[in-house]
Symmetry: C2
Subunit: 371 residues, 2 copies
């Protein structure tokens, strides 16, 4: 691998191409490890806020069910798989496809769940989060962050790169709140798993949280852990810790959409030296979303953190539940973009979007008991 690095058509680079290609060339064909941090925030139960579940109550089951799906191939904590209203399946289906094809090892981290997945998880001492509107949304932030850092350092001893990711319903709202508390964004640029992003409700909820915490936009520019404690969710400090612990030694792919922007924003304030060793791994769907602006958010964090997306396209899928991804539903989550990017990297591009789509169909058919 060298400067002549050729990007396969399954991947696209956005932002700083030089850094992206430098990192890619260092991990091309090497061995990665995928982690997904699951957590609950009661924020997801605010009616109308989160579509990551068929009802506001069911959003609390989505992280645990996603984790069970990845590890067991089925859910135990609830009947059926996590769906958005309308029956659109969780992006964990794509994550699973990428992990199965690549055989990349993976672990679930319990960032703090109210509904705990029925599988062995990495425990970091987290607790489920309160509603962002309370202004004291996350407990044990410092402890959980430190444990995350230790975990990142441990993984860096044995792997060439890692992927971090999340399943935390309601998390785009808490991400927005953290980004605003830190002054990274001053307006609502975050995504939604619905094409009808409830932007006004989200913004008002965030402003209520900031007010309850007694902070103005940008007040916590230099204190991300405090911002997380006030208005974040339990997924953010674990992943910020894992990122920093690992990225001092090996490249880290931050798998996910705007939720993970809060992780990156917090991490680069806590340890700017990670820049140059991280990129975001996501989907084409997320970047094409007209209702959010990942690239703008990332620009205001740092011009030196590229975004690499997998060019998955479900428009030719025979299943309406999957076609819906092309209509603006879901877009990202459960590290589906990061896992796909990692599978392509580890296989030196031998795994393609077509391979992934075929495996997603197999998984989807199996889950839905289609013939």
């Amino acid at each position: 691998m060298s400067k002549n690095f050729e990007l396969p058509p399954s991947l696209s680079i956005n932002g700083n191409e030089k850094i992206a290609k430098d990192i890619l060339s260092r991990i091309w064909g090497k061995q990665g490890m995928f982690t997904c941090t699951v957590a609950n925030t009661l924020t997801s139960t605010i009616p109308g806020l989160s579509d990551a579940g068929d009802t506001p109550e069911l959003t609390m089951f989505t992280p645990a069910a996603d984790a069970e799906l990845l590890v067991l191939g089925k859910t135990v904590c609830m009947k059926g798989i996590p769906i958005n209203p309308g029956g659109i399946p969780t992006p964990a289906t794509l994550t699973q496809a990428a992990l199965e094809l690549s055989k990349i090892p993976y672990l679930i981290v319990n960032g703090g769940c109210k509904v705990i997945p029925n599988i062995p998880c990495i425990e970091v001492g987290g607790e489920y989060g309160e509603k962002v509107t309370t202004g004291h949304a996350v407990k044990h932030v410092k402890e959980v962050f430190e444990k995350g850092k230790i975990f990142g350092e441990l993984l860096a001893k044995s792997y060439d790169f890692i992927v971090i990711s999340e399943s935390c319903a309601g998390g785009t709202t808490t991400a927005l709140a953290v980004l605003m508390a830190m002054g990274v964004v001053k307006e609502n640029l975050v995504s939604s798993s619905s094409p009808n992003n409830p932007k006004e409700l989200k913004t008002n909820t965030v402003l209520e949280g900031l007010k309850a915490a007694g902070i103005n936009i940008g007040d916590l520019k230099d204190d991300p852990l405090k911002a997380i404690e006030c208005v974040g969710d339990p997924m953010i400090p674990v992943n910020a810790g894992i990122l920093i612990g690992a990225a001092k030694h090996i490249p880290v792919i931050v798998g996910g959409g705007t939720q993970m922007a809060a992780v990156i924003a917090a991490a680069v304030i806590l340890d700017p030296s990670v820049i140059g060793n991280i990129f975001q791994g996501t989907t084409r769907w997320l970047l094409n979303d007209p209702n959010s602006n990942m690239i703008k958010i990332m620009d205001s964090i740092s011009p030196d953190i590229p975004i690499i997306n997998v060019n998955m396209d479900y428009s030719s899928s025979p299943y309406e539940g999957l076609q819906a991804y092309e209509w603006g539903y879901i877009k990202e989550g459960v590290g589906c973009g990061g896992a796909s990017v990692a599978a392509i990297i580890e296989s030196e591009g031998k795994i393609t979007c077509d391979d992934l789509l075929e495996r997603v169909h197999k998984i989807y058919k199996n889950i839905m008991n289609f013939d």
Copy 2:
């Protein structure tokens, strides 16, 4: 790798050579994963029973401290490192050397600790164990066993082999109790971390436990989970689960001494199909112990589970704390034998006993703050 498989001088095979060489040839140079399950049993606080700690009270800190040593390179839950009375250092020093040299990935599993290590662990829902003399020594056995199985299956998706191991002070007594409840042994053949194995005290303690549980020797021949629940410790069901979950797909190295015999005995009753895909990985010290008889225990479990030992020899070490291993102290623990065997396998024999000894000296000097 083929039938002409040549064993390096750093390893010796005991028992079924054909099966040992078959497994070795399938994993030689392949990629493994090391796990160590830490747990507490109050059995270790019975005065005179366990030497895995400077005092009976300190034995409760030994598992957590061993785990911290492997992950952090230092202890947090206590001052100094776990030692036997007389200052003989924990075998985790050898485990650490093997993991550092080989870069084999590793994870700590919390089987059920009262003193919880200050690191991220795999959580399986275990709780610390009561004294074996109560006759109801372990809670949640079935749940913990099932979680262990899921974890073993998860690891088997991505690795070519795994090592399971333990740090659980007091565990030779609970192992003896389980082996007697199952009728695998009818006399005390288990080891001790002291050269003055308190065999009579152990036997009497075990008989008290069996009596309290209302069971006779051999009564639970076909119900190992019940035997563990009555007179075992929380390490045993997790490791039996991991073994079964993984060994259906990939070879499993059972790292450790007579404590792990209880794990093997339970696992082969629960799923005899694992035989042919497992061997015990241990040390020369354990097999040379005149006060225990690992080979006899294994013979009565199955003639088809070989023992492969690493030929570490500390007699030329300049440190008395390490020379003590040659005088019958410690012998095994924290998967030191299994990790060493795995490091030799993964490196295709390039890592030798001399390399391991050199690294142990470095680690020991560093921990003890010698010049």
